[in-house]
């Protein structure tokens, strides 16, 4: 496989990961925390109304997890295409 083809495939897979992760990012913060908060507020998580919890706590936890998942995915992808540096 030529170098430029390799790079193209790598970039495509990268974009796929980005799309998936950003959809989760959007759904959790803008979806659960803002747009659908009233529907979610009918459910509870301990003392929290669920929509309120997503807006002030849950989304932030998910953000942190998303970045670390991204780091792992990309490290694997770098290895697969021979772009890792150790």
């Amino acid at each position: 496989m030529s170098e430029s083809k390799n790079a193209k495939k790598y970039w495509k897979e990268n974009l796929k990961y980005l799309a998936i992760l950003l959809v989760i990012w959007f759904v959790v913060s803008y979806g659960c925390g803002i747009l659908f908060r009233e529907e979610l507020n009918q459910y509870r998580l301990g003392g929290f109304k669920l929509g309120f919890w997503f807006a002030q706590q849950g989304s932030i936890y998910v953000f942190v997890i998303l970045i670390f998942v991204y780091v792992r995915l990309m490290n694997k992808l770098d290895k697969k295409y021979g772009y890792d540096e150790e």
Binding site: W11, G33, I34, N41, G46, G47, F48, W53, Y61, F63
Partner: protein
């Protein structure tokens, strides 16, 4: 020991620590000065980024703002953390691979034009100066509040400290001082939170305590909602902003965060692309500790405040109330003559701040000249929620002193990061890249130090004589960053066809539109206007979202009808998309 003695001791120790680090980490070359030599470990860089990011506003004001805004305060929590996801996924790795020193460097090279570089420099300076003035003010306030010195001396002391570690060490000195400052500020923020959470709910962890139960078995948040409803406030967990506006403000803050030059530049300091990704993760994790605790503090302090003051006789009020009244952050007028404090919905004052009359009322309260006709009798400044929280909860004196040291660490670390961006914009982007390309490394370093010195003087001046618009514009700095940098950088990486015509016209239109909207609706220029006149019901804080979309659309349209970028620029884009071979950040 008294609070004041404790404060002097703790602040003294932390300052000595910062000085020590500054002397140890002196910078010898421009590379050390701009990007700390490019050899900072991801964890250290994460801590430095977190300290850089969390300003006096995060530390002192945010929990207070949320405690008065309830659900509406979520915009800050989401906006100032979610931006790191964008930063980690869309910007940091590519900019690190690109491997220069600054954001204008990237814009100038990617768009093969000094015009684009100049636009980027101007945007960086506007954003950084509005931001840094607020930090210096924060330093002054903490000093005057806790150490009883005049604000002017507080600002002067703060300026000297920043000068020493920024001037000597540049990015290297700043990075390692910020690591220490992160430790100080997070410790200072968490200790009172643990205490108060345990006191109120029996859970030590504030994030859990916030959803926990009180002694009588009711949930804390339910209790607060019902207190709010009884007193005529909006329910705490519901809020009153429109859904669209919450959406727009959150997006503007997120994108603005990812576009702030002093945050982006931090990712140039790590050795590899891999480290840039990981470092963003550490940074957000370390920031999230404070950002998930802050809303809990808001709930605790709001409940505490209402329960302590509502329907309480002024003569039986605790000492802290009178202390803060004396410093002008609390005001009470006995409107119905019953000697008790009525704290209900409605503005207690005509205007924003109390105007004291230098006389005392029959209970010994400070009289004010601008009490309003509303039935609410109490004015409480939002900033005291974090500062006074330990006193309200009756915590030991050393905890109260710790909060002062934490506030100072937060303000100083952010100020230092911003000053570095300002000095780099001048010495590197302007002098080295445009005016005098053959300047020596030593000469450039001298320019960098000289411009940091001048920038400190200017920001100190604004700290002592804050122009009225500073408070109003700090939040808007995000809108400006969102409307200018963010689209140009993203499109530069993800759209190979983007050319200089597209990027420049997008940035110029974006930032002008944002400035116009801000001046019209915040500063009453161009005919002003009220809430009803907002475009699509978007507040000035949320308008960055609209301006950003306009920027993207214009960039795309203009780039497609003008010439494609040259081959070597397309090669740059292809090379930054591949992580290996980043090498060290260099001048090329």
């Amino acid at each position: 020991m008294s609070v004041q003695t404790w404060t002097w001791i703790i602040v003294g120790i932390t300052f000595a620590l910062y000085f020590g680090i500054a002397i140890w980490a002196r910078a010898g070359s421009t590379k050390e000065f701009y990007v700390a030599g490019g050899g900072v470990s991801p964890l250290a860089n994460g801590m430095a980024t977190a300290a850089d990011w969390m300003s006096a506003a995060s530390f002192i004001s945010m929990a207070g703002i949320i405690s008065f805004a309830g659900y509406d305060g979520s915009v800050y929590l989401l906006g100032w953390t979610g931006g790191y996801v964008l930063l980690a996924l869309l910007l940091a790795p590519y900019l690190r691979k690109f491997g220069k020193f600054t954001v204008p460097d990237f814009i100038g090279d990617r768009y093969y034009s000094n015009g684009a570089r100049t636009v980027a420099i101007i945007c960086a300076l506007i954003v950084s100066f509005t931001y840094v003035a607020g930090q210096m003010r924060g330093v002054g306030i903490v000093f005057s509040q806790f150490l009883q010195v005049e604000i002017i001396w507080g600002v002067a002391i703060g300026m000297c400290i920043v000068l020493v570690f920024a001037f000597l060490g540049g990015m290297k000195g700043i990075t390692y001082t910020q690591v220490a400052q992160y430790c100080v500020l997070i410790f200072a923020f968490m200790v009172p939170a643990f205490f108060i959470s345990f006191q109120m709910t029996g859970d030590v962890i504030p994030q859990i305590g916030m959803g926990g139960t009180l002694e009588d078995g009711t949930y804390l948040l339910d209790k607060l909602d019902s207190l709010h409803t009884q007193l005529g406030f909006k329910e705490y967990t519901t809020g009153s902003k429109s859904t669209w506006d919450v959406f727009a403000i959150t997006l503007a803050l997120m994108v603005g965060t990812a576009g702030l030059p002093h945050v982006i530049v931090r990712f140039f300091t790590v050795p590899k692309v891999k480290d840039a990704r990981k470092s963003a993760g550490y940074a957000l994790f370390l920031i999230a500790i404070l950002y998930t605790t802050a809303p809990a503090i808001s709930v605790f302090s709001r409940t505490n405040l209402i329960e302590t003051v509502s329907e309480t006789k002024y003569s039986e009020i605790p000492e802290w109330f009178k202390n803060w009244e004396n410093t002008g952050l609390i005001a009470w007028t006995d409107k119905n003559g019953d000697g008790k404090i009525q704290y209900i919905a409605g503005n207690a004052l005509d205007g924003k701040k109390p105007v004291y009359t230098e006389t005392r009322g029959i209970y010994g309260e400070r009289m004010i000249a601008n009490a309003s006709a509303a039935r609410n009798e109490l004015y409480v400044d939002r900033d005291i929620m974090v500062l006074a929280n330990p006193e309200i909860a009756g915590l030991p004196n050393w905890v109260i002193a710790l909060v002062a040291a934490g506030g100072l660490a937060a303000a100083l670390s952010t100020a230092a990061g911003l000053l570095l961006v300002i000095s780099t914009s001048i010495s590197h982007d302007l002098i080295k890249k445009q005016i005098k390309p053959d300047i020596s490394d030593k000469g450039e370093l001298m320019w960098a130090r000289a411009s940091i010195f001048v920038a400190i003087l200017i920001s100190g001046y604004f700290g002592i004589n804050p122009p009225g618009f500073v408070a109003a514009t700090v939040a808007l700095a995000f809108g400006l960053a969102a409307a200018s940098f963010f689209p140009a950088i993203i499109l530069g990486i993800f759209d190979k066809r983007m050319n200089k015509e597209g990027a420049i016209s997008g940035m110029v239109v974006g930032i002008i539109l944002m400035l116009f909207y801000m001046m019209k609706y915040k500063l009453d220029m161009f005919g002003g206007g009220t809430k009803e006149d907002w475009w699509f019901g978007t507040s000035p804080e949320g308008f960055g979202t609209v301006a950003m979309i306009v920027n993207v659309v214009i960039s795309l349209v203009v780039s497609r009808v003008t010439a494609a970028p040259p081959k070597d620029v397309v090669d740059i884009v292809e090379s930054i998309r591949i992580p290996s071979g980043a090498g060290e950040a260099s001048v090329h």
